[in-house]
């Protein structure tokens, strides 16, 4: 068989091809931005388009990001298909009002009467000594805005296919192109009409032991880290997110259901970044066996320009590899199992109230102690103490009485009962004494009734049981329970 020629392009060539193809296919498509005309863009994404389509459709704009975005909104509302370029993502925030405040809201705020099919392309990311204003990753700001789709291709094929999809999309799409991929990444790109659907992630490398989520240049660093680990017997799955908003939850959760270990990598700063959202998604779906790891830029205001400093803050294959080793080495805190079904609401569990109103005579100490012994006997977790070996439940109920500042509890019992009598407050939450698991406090008696509160140490006692425990206490007091074999250790 004759060998079929495989056409390879760089990312920037793929972007250029997508723009040219779409402009040729649809005369509503026009390109606008700084230096996009005769210069062909500072990264040459629009090279050749000015000669091919003319100044009417390849428009050099003033250095004014607000109006570049605002004019694109107006053009899109009129049914044109503007593809605006913001030279560096670092400059995009002057356009944010038009992207987040306008484009993202137009369809929703007009009940679907209007739409805003604009595309805004911008170059983001560091790793080339650009300093704080030519290296930023801005995705989290924009992925947070409902109504704005955000894509971040990593490969030449996706750079073409996602840009074509963005131009044909009826709503606004922000296309984040990692500037280091422009020339560093080369690969097969299908010729002709090629669309990569927005909202679909791709498994870039299959693996068993953990999943790395990445995009842009970090996808390639993550793949390199996975190769390093393969030789060490660690089998890592790498998922290329491709679309950051809306996230492809199915692909993300399907991979995690298999590996049950999550690592997310981005150049954007760590706090409130995409990684936080992925961790939240995984936690809500309950698909992780061990805590996740995030490999991201630390929370510093910018990417420094100095060679050593920049390399120190941006993730790379070595730091990703190290994070994965830690992740895979973490002991499973839970047995491997299929994702559990969400727990249904159980009407049999009483409300986890820690306060109950009880009928009590003024002279009630004996009855209260008796009832507490009865309730504590029925719920041994409330009558327990912490030991080095764990929580010890006691057969005998040793009530520690706290009768006020002049007669405080000694801490020698297994459960504390606080009662300051008629001088006490009507309602107060007791303090669980160190070492014990619960405490009960009776408020001042008014008209034969008092509020009884229970506090517990949640390391030992589940909140729902507090309601059950107090219900037992109340029943015992009001029905006059008697002590069988409890020991009372009075204050």
């Amino acid at each position: 068989m004759p060998e079929r020629a495989v056409r390879e392009l760089t990312v920037i060539e793929a972007v250029r091809e997508a723009l040219g193809d779409e402009m040729a296919r649809d005369e509503r498509v026009l390109v606008l931005g700084e230096d996009v005309g005769r210069l062909g863009g500072v990264f040459r994404a629009t090279e050749g388009l000015f000669a091919r389509f003319g100044a009417k459709r390849v428009v050099d704009m003033p250095m004014a990001e607000t109006v570049i975005a605002g004019v694109a909104v107006g053009l899109a509302m009129r049914g044109l298909r503007p593809v605006a370029e913001i030279q560096f993502a670092d400059f995009i925030h002057a356009a944010m009002d038009h992207l987040v405040g306008e484009a993202a809201k137009i369809r929703w705020r007009t009940g679907g009467d209007w739409s805003c099919p604009l595309v805004l392309r911008t170059a983001y990311g560091g790793g080339f000594r650009g300093g704080p204003y030519h290296s930023q990753s801005v995705e989290a700001f924009y992925a947070h805005a409902p109504g704005l789709k955000v894509v971040a291709p990593s490969t030449p094929a996706d750079a073409k296919g996602l840009l074509v999809a963005a131009i044909r999309d009826p709503d606004p799409v922000l296309v984040l192109e990692h500037k280091r991929t422009y020339r560093a990444i080369r690969g097969y790109v299908p010729e002709g009409d090629y669309v990569v659907p927005i909202g679909r992630a791709a498994v870039a490398r299959e693996g068993r032991d953990a999943t790395v989520f990445a995009y842009g240049m970090m996808l390639h660093e993550s793949l390199a880290a996975a190769e390093l680990l393969a030789s060490e017997g660690i089998d890592v799955e790498v998922v290329d997110l491709r679309t950051l908003a809306p996230l492809d939850r199915e692909t993300i959760l399907a991979s995690l259901a298999k590996t049950r270990r999550l690592c997310v990598v981005h150049e954007d700063t760590i706090t409130m970044g995409l990684g936080a959202e992925l961790c939240a998604l995984a936690a809500e779906a309950d698909v992780l066996d061990v805590p996740p790891v995030r490999v991201a830029m630390p929370d510093i205001p910018g990417v420094p320009v100095d060679d050593v400093l920049e390399d120190a803050v941006l993730p790379n294959r070595a730091t990703i590899r190290d994070a994965l080793v830690r992740l895979v080495g973490r002991e499973r805190s839970r047995s491997s199992r299929a994702p559990s079904a969400p727990r249904a609401y159980d009407p049999a569990i009483p409300q986890a109230s820690s306060i109950v109103e009880v009928a009590l005579p003024a002279e009630h100490m004996r009855a209260a102690i008796t009832a507490l012994v009865a309730a504590a006997s029925a719920f041994p977790r409330f009558n327990a103490t912490f030991a080095w070996t764990g929580i010890v439940e006691h057969a005998d109920v040793v009530v520690d009485l706290d009768l006020g500042p002049s007669a405080p509890a000694r801490g020698l019992g297994t459960i504390t009962l606080v009662d300051y009598g008629p001088d006490g407050s009507d309602l107060a939450i007791p303090f669980v004494r160190p070492g014990q698991t619960s405490a009960v406090r009776i408020g001042a008696v008014r008209d034969g009734r008092a509020f009884v509160a229970c506090a517990v140490d949640h390391r030992a006692v589940d909140g729902a049981d507090v309601g059950r425990f107090l219900a037992a206490f109340k029943a015992a007091v009001e029905e006059g329970a008697s002590v069988h074999d409890g020991v009372v250790h009075a204050g």
Partner: protein
């Protein structure tokens, strides 16, 4: 203006005032959330809208351009649906408060909150007209407070560079809510700015509907003929507080405003265009239309929570 245009102008001014008056009182009575009065500004909207070709030309309006909406064909009931923020409001479907106008049918670009972001949208719209070659013109209206934003500078610059078919209309009432003209810009008027962009500027009495119409006609004809954009500086007086949430007694003298109102009310001045007899008849019709619209719109159902995410996609 032709005789028919004069009558249309008066009808729009009278109806805008009647609706404005109802909305102000209903908002103050707590029957609706928010009123944005146009009293004192009516001649600007009516004047430029009468220079537009309905259904052909486009407008990115000022939020005080109720009179323009009426000239372009917005029904009083639709105005009141917007005012009561009902989901059946064709402007904003219960999702934006009054006066966020918008109508694809009437060629009114959907208006947003942050002022005046619609400036660049209007420039984009005019650019679309040029690319599509449909000969339409876009009017872009905003306040003199909004005019101090970089958005306006960038938009006028781009419109002038590409000689786009648009007309910038500044409602110059001298107040940005509570901030007086002296604290907004250092010149008396804004018309000189036009020269800085290389476009003609026209200063006009914005409380004289004929004068506004004449200026807007000149500007729209120039735009249509490929002569590019024009800036119209239209002076007016804001008779009422900024919105129903504002208390203008904290920053300006009501007696001074009332005196300006007595001498320059654009609706009263326009009575001369049609004569007292017709003006009285039109005013009676306007009152009836406004009453009907308010009562009808208030009775329309509120939103269904199940629909709140409709038209949200990402």
């Amino acid at each position: 203006m032709t005789r028919a245009e004069r009558e249309r102008a008066y009808r729009a001014l009278s109806l805008a005032r009647a609706l404005d008056d109802r909305m102000w009182r209903l908002a103050r009575a707590g029957r609706a959330h928010f009123a944005v009065p146009c009293s004192g500004h009516e001649a600007i909207g009516a004047g430029y809208a009468l220079a537009m070709r309905p259904g052909v030309d486009w407008v990115a309006p000022h939020y005080r351009d109720l009179a323009a909406m009426i000239v372009l064909g917005m029904a009083p009931r639709d105005v009141m649906l917007n005012f009561f923020s009902r989901p059946s409001d064709p402007n904003a479907h219960g999702r934006q408060p009054y006066s966020h106008f918008g109508s694809r049918a009437l060629h009114v670009l959907s208006l947003q909150g942050p002022q005046p972001n619609h400036c660049s949208h209007g420039v984009g719209c005019a650019w679309g007209s040029k690319l599509l070659g449909d000969g339409s013109v876009t009017v872009i209206a905003f306040g003199d407070g909004g005019a101090q934003k970089g958005e306006v500078h960038e938009s006028m610059n781009v419109a002038a560079i590409h000689r786009l078919p648009c007309v910038f209309v500044v409602h110059r009432n001298g107040w940005t809510q509570s901030v007086a003209r002296e604290d907004q810009y250092a010149t008396e008027t804004l018309v000189a700015r036009a020269a800085g962009y290389g476009m003609p500027g026209i200063a006009v009495d914005g409380m004289d509907v004929e004068a506004v119409h004449a200026a807007a006609s000149e500007a729209t004809e120039r735009a249509r003929a490929g002569g590019g954009p024009t800036l119209i500086d239209a002076a007016c007086v804001r008779f009422l507080p900024n919105t129903s949430n504002d208390d203008d007694s904290r920053y300006r003298d009501r007696a001074e405003v009332d005196a300006l109102r007595a001498s320059g009310d654009p609706v009263l001045r326009a009575r001369a265009l049609v004569g007292a007899e017709l003006a009285d008849a039109v005013d009676a019709e306007s009152a009836a239309l406004a009453d009907d619209a308010a009562a009808w719109a208030e009775a329309q159902p509120l939103g269904d929570p199940a629909t709140v995410a409709d038209h949200a996609y990402a």
